[in-house]
Symmetry: C2
Subunit: 409 residues, 2 copies
Amino acid sequence: MKGNVVVGQSGGPTAVINSSLAGVFKNAMERGYNKVYGMRYGIQGFIDGQYIDLADYIKNDLDIELLKRTPSAYLGTCRYKLPGIHEDKTIYEKIFALLDELDIEVFVYIGGNDSMDTIKKLSDYALLTGARQKFIGCPKTIDNDLAITDHTPGFGSAAKYIATSTKEVIRDAMGFSYGKKNLTVMEIMGRNAGWLVGSTALAKGEDCDGPDMIYLPEVPFDLDKFSEKVEKLLEEKDVVVVAISEGIKTAEGKYICEFTAGSDSVDAFGHIQMTGAAAYLANMIHDKLGIKTRAVELSTLQRAASHLSSKVDIDEAFAVGGATIKAADDGCTGMMVVIDRVSDDPYQSTTSVFDVHRIANDEKVVPREWINEAGDNVTDEFINYAQPLIEGTLLPVMVGGVPRHLVLK
Amino acid sequence: MKGNVVVGQSGGPTAVINSSLAGVFKNAMERGYNKVYGMRYGIQGFIDGQYIDLADYIKNDLDIELLKRTPSAYLGTCRYKLPGIHEDKTIYEKIFALLDELDIEVFVYIGGNDSMDTIKKLSDYALLTGARQKFIGCPKTIDNDLAITDHTPGFGSAAKYIATSTKEVIRDAMGFSYGKKNLTVMEIMGRNAGWLVGSTALAKGEDCDGPDMIYLPEVPFDLDKFSEKVEKLLEEKDVVVVAISEGIKTAEGKYICEFTAGSDSVDAFGHIQMTGAAAYLANMIHDKLGIKTRAVELSTLQRAASHLSSKVDIDEAFAVGGATIKAADDGCTGMMVVIDRVSDDPYQSTTSVFDVHRIANDEKVVPREWINEAGDNVTDEFINYAQPLIEGTLLPVMVGGVPRHLVLK
């Protein structure tokens, strides 16, 4: 008889991280594991002995369906980096003692770059000490910045929410254009990688032109050029909508949001005011051209809006979760499940595994050739890549007019 | 044979204002009117001779269905207040000349308080001059602050979006609570009326406690009390989520967002920084307690997120649109269509008409008895009133992974 599995969630949550958890649980049960334990608040809580037996909480297939539709980390998450093995052995001894005590055979960690570092270190330690547990990473991040995998679960749903919201913001701006020109600057998450801001281009279709300009953090941002372009666009049309990454910076490496902080801007508490980059640019254009401008930040909802998850994303999140257990059964350890794209159109993907040492702590940015020459939009290659990932809808289960979630009480 | 109808949209758009437009168009066609003209950008564009024949653009039932799912004002909107009749007669002469020229029998205006003022003045002028046109108002505003009508189309969908987003933000905050307490302050639209911020309470259910506190603009806001309450709550629990109206102010009448402006806060352009009220409160608590805090503003999407419209709202918006034409056929003028609630459970409503003179320029706020004694939450009466209005979903028509809209080209 097989032993047990333990699974944790780590880093910033996504709309579909719980779909991966559901995939791990269901696949482990089907493959004959005895128990599936869930770490509370990732490895940080686990070290403190915080875990649950998932079967006590996920009782039937309806619970599985609700879990797939629940945003944020069902088990709780953490931002915790394990020390190097040579720095602090005792923490490893503690973790492995707990793993032995719980008869754990497979350790699954759902997360991004930092979380894969955890898988790397634990699998290294197991190798060094001959421990029997297998350590498998399950990719997750809205930022889509993990290496090797074609894309990460979480990205597609964030992109779908961002594209839909962008389209709605553009419609809203269009309604107000009579007799007055206006500029909207939308600020999108993604400090170093422009995958999310690039996906505002998916708003484009027969009924919408999409944003007029899109600025990714991969390309240095030129304030003067931006200002000139906006001015020129406003000569041709009344409504201009621009999308920027929160992480755009000048060629000198200064974040746009730091420009305000460079001034007298201190609030009542003495905080330096890091006005958002979008607010800064909107103010700048308002001052220069005297037109109505506004800044829109999509905020936390970019990672939490499971009411608008992508079906492709949620299914893949579930599949990579299941694939972690299969990988362990195949004898893998120190590996992450990756998504391989088989075809763009019709979109098809499969999963495989890859050495986590080549994934952890690496950061995949948007290739320069997927950004246009002027550095103010994405190319068709980007759209062909991202568009299939936002397809389809897994309808929320609505109770009382709002989506029902599965929560741990 | 009947003459023609002209319909306009005015004020801030909503997720369902176009459903009312669809209702006007469909009902007018069915009732044998010859043409339905649409004013571009409300009365302001109409005065300039900007209008279209809607039949050229809404060609079939699929277009009607798309229009019902399209946010913002399909025809374009304006914020334009007609002068008093005694102040400027020429503008009225111009409008009525155009109405005669277009053989208009019914003038429908979809909007809020200010728009009903337009209906009032035009119907008064028609009465004074014996003009034959009938003027009917069609209610619309996310703010739900129109008098006489039980509620306004647009409110239910905004409330559904706000309740759903609140639930997702709470889930997100809960995922991060291990070993550290955190506070989220959500800022919701509605400067004078607390209907929208109150609807964050609809996040509450078996799987969610809803916001810990809700502050409506109807009740003076006390910074010290707020701070004390947050501190007390954080002794009992790790995650606190508070919803505030953008319009909360102290007993002395000072808006919370003005507090920052009172300090040295000037940005690089010399703008006084009106940091949002939520950001101010989040900073204040962070400074006082040293815990992690964040501010979330739902922004424009509160009125534009038609991807999450309420079915009840969209159906009622369509119904009040149609009822304007019936009202005109019944001989009404200077009236607004209102929604009458027949029953809470099961929810049932009908439409009737009411004298616009008693509606225009009035503002309906949340009754004090629907707010708890402490002034930091809504009562069950509020929930019983608002909950039926967010029920049901009219699925978006998804094309390429995003909702398809009907747009005027």
